[in-house]
């Protein structure tokens, strides 16, 4: 996890791709982004500046998660309320996004993304998904 954390600072631009891929691979997730402009094709999505910006936002948030792995529920309490009360996002989507991130990491790290490293990341994204769903009511 530490190794990837260092790499994260170096190749930050790559990881927001997890959000863009989500919108391509699971088109129904586009329902939350009606005001993002052109999402009509894979290339439109991959090149959409609003999607990129939002991906960076999500990514920064995940960076906080890595720094606060001992208290994910506390770290994401406010965001959890936001996603429930204002954004109305089904928590199933957090799992989809987490798995997309894992796949993007595999693509960009190749063989370095060993089964052991994957297992650590799966635990983390599962923890983040649970934390983000924690305040739902």
């Amino acid at each position: 996890m530490v190794l990837l954390g260092e790499r994260k600072r170096k190749d930050l631009s790559l990881y927001f791709l997890q959000l863009t891929r989500l919108l391509v691979v699971y088109p129904w997730t586009q329902r939350f982004f009606d005001n993002f402009g052109n999402l009509s094709s894979a290339s439109a999505i991959m090149g959409n500046p609003k999607v990129k910006d939002h991906g960076k936002k999500v990514l920064t948030s995940l960076g906080e998660a890595i720094k606060n792995m001992d208290d994910l529920k506390g770290t994401f309490a406010h965001l959890s309320e936001l996603h429930c009360d204002r954004l109305h996002v089904d928590p199933e989507n957090f799992k989809l996004l987490g798995n997309e991130l894992v796949i993007v990491l595999a693509k960009y790290f190749g063989k370095e993304f060993t089964p052991q490293v994957q297992a650590a990341w799966q635990k983390m994204v599962a923890g983040v998904a649970i934390a983000l769903a924690h305040k739902y009511h």
């Binding site: 595999a106 052991q116 297992a119």
Partner: protein, 145 residues
């Protein structure tokens, strides 16, 4: 039967992606299993008799079995229920793997392919493969009840 352009694209993407594994499909299958057992330990409950150490002969053999079945599916994309009928019976009546686990293996297959074939693993190919694994999973659980 006339294929829509989108359907044809999916078929081409899947065949090309599978071809990219070269002669290594069996190894990819084994790696996907290893990833799944490590990331999702509950999946090991279906293999209590397995040696789970890295490089285990049982995982290698089983990985090849899985890969061969997927290769067969790739060659029968328009006729998967028939092509996979025997495997479907096996999973329904003998193995009875809970359906949730097919998603876990599918995910690890995607991770494996992404890590070994990153250049080919474009978002569009990723989508086609995701659909393919979901379709295979549906066929394999189709006779459960």
């Amino acid at each position: 039967k006339v294929l829509s352009a989108a359907h044809k694209n999916n078929i081409n993407n899947i065949k090309a992606a599978w071809k990219a594994t070269g002669g290594h499909a069996g190894e990819r299958g084994a790696e996907a299993l290893e990833r799944m057992f490590l990331s999702f330990p509950t999946t090991k409950t279906y293999f209590p008799h397995f040696d789970m150490s890295h490089g285990s002969a049982q995982i290698k053999t089983h990985g090849k079995k899985v890969a061969d079945a997927l290769s067969n599916a790739v060659n029968h994309l328009d006729d998967m229920p028939t092509a996979l009928s025997a495997l479907s019976d096996l999973h329904a009546h003998k193995l009875r793997v809970d359906p949730v686990n097919f998603k876990l293996l599918s995910h690890c297959l995607l991770v494996t392919l992404a890590s070994h074939h990153s250049a080919e693993f474009t978002p569009v190919v990723h989508t086609s493969l995701d659909k393919f694994f979901a379709a295979v999973s549906t066929v394999l659980t189709s006779k459960y009840r």
